[in-house]
């Protein structure tokens, strides 16, 4: 009987066992890597924001460039607004964001950046024209930036200090220009 059992065990060759276990371990590794990645986001206040580059819509430039990198804005307070033309709440805050931008524009210490999320260009352009938005705006190509911030929807606005550290996140629309100015002033006054 013992011989029979040994015979049965010999039924699955060693190479097949190694292959199966190797595949299982590989899959487990992939699942584990995915879970670790899921836990990485979102970027929370106090976290350093990784560098990214965003192309700008034609007609928009920053320092004469048609694309903008976060690393280029070192030493400035950066306000990143995620929006979309199909997003009705975004329309509520569009005028307030533009007013806040115009308030700080000449000082040169604050940069506003509009990231257009999952949008179509003709509609996006119409939106920018409708609200007369003048601060740098561009498409979030491949949704790379929104994935980096792990946004939950639009609108969302991220306030980054002069050191490149995220300080405040506004989920949903602002209700007044003063609300935006308050956040920026706090960052400008920080030592």
């Amino acid at each position: 009987m013992t011989e029979n059992i040994q015979e049965t065990k010999r039924g699955v060759p060693l190479w097949a066992q190694i292959l199966v276990w190797g595949l299982l371990l590989g899959l487990l590794g992939l699942v584990a890597a995915g879970m670790v990645r899921t836990k990485e986001g979102p970027i929370r206040p106090g976290d350093k924001v990784r560098d990214f580059t965003m192309p700008l819509f034609s007609g928009y430039t920053f320092n004469g460039q048609s694309e903008l990198s976060l690393s280029d804005l070192s030493g400035k307070v950066v306000v990143i607004n995620f929006w979309a033309s199909w997003c009705k709440p975004c329309e509520q805050e569009a005028a307030d964001l533009e007013a806040a931008w115009r308030y700080y524009e000449n000082g040169g210490e604050v940069v506003f950046l509009g990231a257009d999320y999952v949008d179509t260009e003709p509609e996006a352009r119409a939106y920018l024209k409708k609200f007369d938005i003048t601060y740098p705006n561009g498409p979030d190509m491949g949704t790379r930036i929104s994935q980096m911030f792990r946004i939950a929807g639009v609108p969302e606005t991220y306030f980054i200090d002069r050191e490149g550290v995220l300080r405040y996140v506004q989920v949903g629309p602002f209700t007044s220009t003063a609300q935006i100015l308050q956040q920026i002033d706090a960052l400008l006054q920080a030592p």
Partner: protein, 171 residues
């Protein structure tokens, strides 16, 4: 019908011919300007292969949101401009990432999606086959062993028969 073969007649024929040619040219231009706009079916044939990241798990062809409507309009626009299905899908991948595709592109780690399930099914089938074969062999060996030890089992059978008989008598 009689053709006027004088120089004047030939000249008139030439003018008429040129005039007809120009008219034909206008006709062709008009036809191409009035090329039919892509139908809903043509748009949806591409849309059903795409998923808008805003409305997860809803194919673009049946997604009711404003964002999806804009995407479908964009597909219609691109088709009208003469783009092919592959070009349009690539445009969406470039703009919104590979996750908009209903089927992951066959590149890099994505191959695992296509290779691992069939491989696991194959390995499972191999294990089942091996297990069934060994069980059958085991059954055959047990049956052989039972047949070989038939005489030894007889006392047990006799005992059971008597036990059952006594139980019946009590009832």
């Amino acid at each position: 019908m009689k053709f006027d073969l004088t120089p004047r007649g030939l000249r008139i024929t030439l003018y008429v011919f040129l005039f007809a040619l120009i008219l034909a040219g206008f006709g062709t231009a008009t036809v191409s300007a009035q090329a039919p706009t892509p139908t809903d079916d043509e748009v949806n044939a591409i849309a059903k292969q795409l998923f808008c990241p805003v409305c997860e798990n809803t194919p673009l062809d049946v997604c009711p949101t404003e964002a999806c409507r804009q995407w479908r309009d964009l597909i219609r626009l691109k088709l009208a401009e003469g783009w092919t299905e592959d070009q349009i899908k690539q445009y969406f991948v470039d703009n919104y990432g590979a996750r908009v595709l209903s089927e992951p592109p066959r590149t890099g780690l994505n191959w695992l999606v296509y290779l691992v399930p069939p491989a696991l099914i194959g390995v499972g089938a191999l294990i089942l086959f091996t297990a069934f074969r060994s069980w059958r062999r085991l059954d055959a060996e047990l049956a052989e062993a039972d047949a070989g030890s038939g005489e030894e089992a007889a006392p047990d059978d006799e005992y059971i028969t008597r036990l059952e008989e006594e139980l019946r008598q009590r009832d």
